[in-house]
């Protein structure tokens, strides 16, 4: 098959994964090795000079990880990708390639709590300054952009669930100011939403969640959309200036529309080091093969559970964009017509104590701080992840005392509903 554009499920199984050239192994082998022998001295020099395609050292690249990279690039419709140790590492290497000390980026206020911590605190050490904007107020993003702004960062479906972000509208602001838009597509996965089709320039993933889908491996990805022109843009010296690390090579010029992915690899991953284990890459690849099937089931069951809870006498409200009349219903119809994801929040009439009791009473739902597993998961943010915040702060970040977050898994939905009913009784 050469020129016919393959469908999503075909890509999820085949993209990047030809049989092994040396052995014919059909499943992708786990190249569990630190290093790769060079064919000769000249070959080694070519690899170190970025003049030939090939493998040197697993911190920089690995053939198992490369299959994962090409797979996710294909699923997102990007030009190239880089696999790294975690979703956090993916964000870190993205900003490392874009920001200098003293620079700013604008980020949506509603994000995964871990990203909020990373941006608010850890990035301060690098002189990277986050400016927060409300994802429900697109104009707020425009107002937050200054001459120091180097990127905009949003989540497609925002954690802890229930928020669909208008990617195209925020992309228009990014394009107006000629800065790249980075979209964290973890909660949607490319099966539900492909941010490049709505104007994103870079996509990041925590592959730990729906991509891998089995709750067994941490990993992250950076996907290059190939749409941003770095050449001649002095604001992004990693991509537009001669690099002393590579004899004066200009990455943006040499690598064209996949230069960003290359920069995060040969400057970021090489020097900062958050490499993905090839074993984890293999686990994530195996998960991705069933991504379309899993996402269909995740969304079907989530819709049923959300509708059931909406009618439950102990429940005050349910925030899931798949529900009729939800605040984000229109955006969900536009951006995620195949389903609004599998993570949502709801509020208990009984407040904090009812939340604690629910989590204790559940038998099938696992009480833990992850999402996107085959298993259904529950967390009561006020007593766990957001415990250290004041009540006001908890409410502002969508983690008020009455709020419970669910990640619906692949069990029989009748069993999940029965478990919630007995726990709420």
């Amino acid at each position: 098959m050469t020129d016919r554009a393959p469908g999503f499920s075909t890509l999820a199984i085949h993209a990047g994964a030809a049989p092994d050239a040396a052995t014919g192994a059909r499943a992708t082998p786990i190249y569990q090795t630190t290093s790769f022998v060079f064919d000769d001295v000249d070959h080694a020099a070519s690899l170190f000079g970025l003049q030939a395609f090939g493998n040197i050292y697993t911190r920089i690249g690995n053939p198992t990880n490369a299959v994962l990279e090409e797979r996710v690039a294909a699923l997102e419709g990007g030009t190239a990708a880089l696999a790294v140790a975690s979703g956090h590492a993916a964000e870190f290497l993205c900003f490392h390639a874009l920001l200098q000390p003293g620079d700013e980026f604008v980020a949506a206020r509603k994000l995964y709590g871990g990203s909020i911590n990373q941006f608010n605190h850890s990035y301060k050490s690098f002189g990277w300054n986050v400016i927060w904007a409300d994802p429900d107020d697109v104009e707020g993003f425009a107002a937050a952009v200054t001459p120091k702004t180097k990127a905009i960062f949003i989540e497609s479906i925002a954690n802890p669930g229930g928020v669909i972000v208008d990617i195209a509208a925020i992309s228009a602001i990014a394009k107006k100011h000629n800065i790249p838009l980075i979209v964290d597509n973890t909660m949607a996965s490319p099966y539900l939403l492909r941010p490049f089709e709505h104007g994103a320039d870079i996509v990041v993933h925590s592959a730990t969640k729906f991509l891998g889908g089995h709750g067994n491996s941490i990993g992250g990805l950076i996907v290059d959309g190939g749409s941003f022109n770095w050449v001649g843009d002095d604001r992004y010296p990693m991509l537009s200036k001669p690099r002393p690390e590579y004899n004066g090579m200009v990455l943006g010029e040499t690598f064209g529309n996949f230069a960003f992915a290359i920069a995060t690899r040969v400057l970021g991953l090489r020097d900062l080091g958050p490499a993905l284990s090839p074993f984890n890459a293999f686990m994530l690849l195996t998960g991705i093969e069933t991504l379309p099937l899993r996402m269909q089931r995740h969304c079907e069951s989530t819709q049923k559970v959300a509708e059931h809870l909406q009618k439950h006498p102990a429940v005050e409200w349910v925030s899931y964009p798949g529900l009729a009349g939800d605040k984000y219903e229109a955006l969900a119809k536009r951006y995620t017509p195949k389903g609004a994801g599998a993570v949502f929040t709801f509020g208990l009439k009984g407040g904090y104590d009812a939340g604690v009791k629910l989590v204790s009473n559940l038998k099938l739902f696992s009480h833990l701080a992850n999402i996107g597993d085959t298993r259904s998961l529950v967390i009561h943010p006020a007593s766990t992840t957001h415990r250290q915040l004041t009540d006001e702060q908890k409410i502002a970040s969508g983690a008020g005392p009455q709020v419970v977050r669910l990640s619906i898994g692949l069990e029989d939905v009748e069993d999940l509903i029965a478990d919630l009913d007995q726990a709420l009784a």
Binding site: A15, S46, E70, A80, N247, G248, G256
Partner: protein, 177 residues
Amino acid sequence: MMNHDAYPDSLIRDILKSVKRIALVGASANEARPSWIVTKYLLDRGYDVIPVNPGLAGQTILGKTVYAALKDISGPIDMVEIFRNSEAAGPITDEALALDPLPKVIWMQLSVRNDEAAARAEAKGVTVIMNRCPKIEYGRLSGEIGWQGINSRILSAKKPVLAGKGFQKLTIHRPGT
């Protein structure tokens, strides 16, 4: 005129399988420049690359003598690869079209596109490829480019073919293609 926004993989593969002698206009002696890197890669893949650059005429790049202009090269050239800007690609195309015999292919590098020049070449039966890099295309069609996490846009249940020496070199001469 051919659609120059999207080339079939089969066309690119046929070109890279059939051409042997390539004149590379805009050759560089600087190892960090894309034109040097492409020259090296194509030489490594067995192509006979002849560097062309009036400023470096008479010197050598990667052991190959540099010529001042296409007309100075003796013997037939299968493909002229243009590593200059889109405007300069016009007169270089005309120089290529003055060669006897004509080259089979005129290939303009990634980011280089000159539709008027392409039309003149195609009127003489010369195949034109624009805004593509032969190294990227070779890497894509052989499968090598996937090692860098780049989307080759090619799916295959056939084994990639090792290029003979070592395990880190693949060839586009794959069965069923």
